[in-house]
Amino acid sequence: MKAKRIDHIGIVVKDLETGVATYERNFGLRRDPNRGGDLPALGIRNAFVPIGDADLEFIESTSDEGPVAEFVKARGEGTFHLSIEVDDLASTVEDLRALGCRVGNPNNGIAFVSIRSTHGLNLQLIQRA
């Protein structure tokens, strides 16, 4: 697999506006007004705070179920996933599966590697346009 760059760090918050405002107020960071929003199909809403070449992605669960909701129940707020950009997601997924990794099917340019293949770390692969 050829990792291109760190795309973002996912941070789960209980309330998106409060979470982002905390970073804006306390540290002077600024969210990207052109990205983020409600993603009902995923049961989340999110916002992005760019820092250099990477982002902090703040995520709030809008559902009682799903990995983000489960994370909040188990651990509250905190760092949730690491996202790595790759050039060719489909090939990367194939290559990882050939190595024996469990990887979800790509969906809208994103695939998650099973925690069983990452020592427990939530790892997302992303292909940008």
């Binding site: 697999m1 050829k2 990792a3 291109k4 760059r5 760190i6 760090i9 941070i11 918050v13 979470g19 905390t22 970073y23 107020r25 306390n26 540290f27 002077g28 960071l29 820092i51 250099g52 070449d53 990477a54 509250g76 707020e77 905190g78 760092t79 949730f80 996933h81 690491l82 790595i84 990882l96 190595l99 990794c101 293949s117 990452t118 020592h119 427990g120 770390l121 939530n122 790892l123």
Partner: protein, 172 residues
């Protein structure tokens, strides 16, 4: 970044009854510019904590192609770190120097460190917001200073780092 992951005490820190209050008061003249915030340039490194950092580093290197550039064990903190770099961001695999017996290797995403232009300003901004922040102190990276933000981060441990913050010997 063992001192960040393990929470070890700062070297040379004076323990005094007024330290807690003193940490909330900027010690240097505020050089902060209004509206500039902490002036974070980029994410410097991300900590991946593991009960066996060498094993996790090896797994990530072999599976995901991260080249391990450096390893470090810190006497006194009993920590072992391995570092890989992806563009401008370092991945730090951190864990105990003496690995305890385990059933499986368990890793999780820890905190991260933001590279800032002026660490004194960044610390002052956080303290002005009313949150405790450790004093900048020498980092393991030569010439760099690091300071940990102790609260106000929504449960995310993070720190600031400024490179070239400590003049090399012989320089003013």
């Amino acid at each position: 970044m063992a001192e960040f992951v393990t929470g070890s005490n700062r070297k040379g820190a004076k323990i005094g009854k007024d330290r807690k209050a003193a940490e909330l008061i900027p010690r240097s003249p505020a050089k902060r510019e209004r509206g500039q915030g902490v002036r974070a340039a980029h994410v410097d490194h991300i900590v991946i904590a593991s009960n066996d950092s060498a094993a996790t580093a090896k797994h990530f290197s072999e599976t995901f192609g991260f080249e391990i550039k450096r390893t470090m064990s810190r006497p006194g903190t009993r920590a072992h770190m391995e570092f890989a770099k992806l563009q401008e961001v370092v991945l730090e695999f951190a864990g105990p120097g003496e690995v305890q017996p385990y059933d499986e290797v368990r890793a999780r995403l820890g905190g991260f460190v933001l590279a800032v232009e002026d660490i004194e300003q960044a610390v002052a901004v956080v303290r002005e917001a009313g949150f405790p922040c450790g004093d900048p102190h020498p980092a393991v990276q030569p010439g760099a200073k690091i300071a940990s933000v102790k609260a106000g981060t929504g449960g995310v441990p993070f720190a600031f780092i400024q490179y070239n913050a400590i003049p090399a010997e012989g320089q003013a």
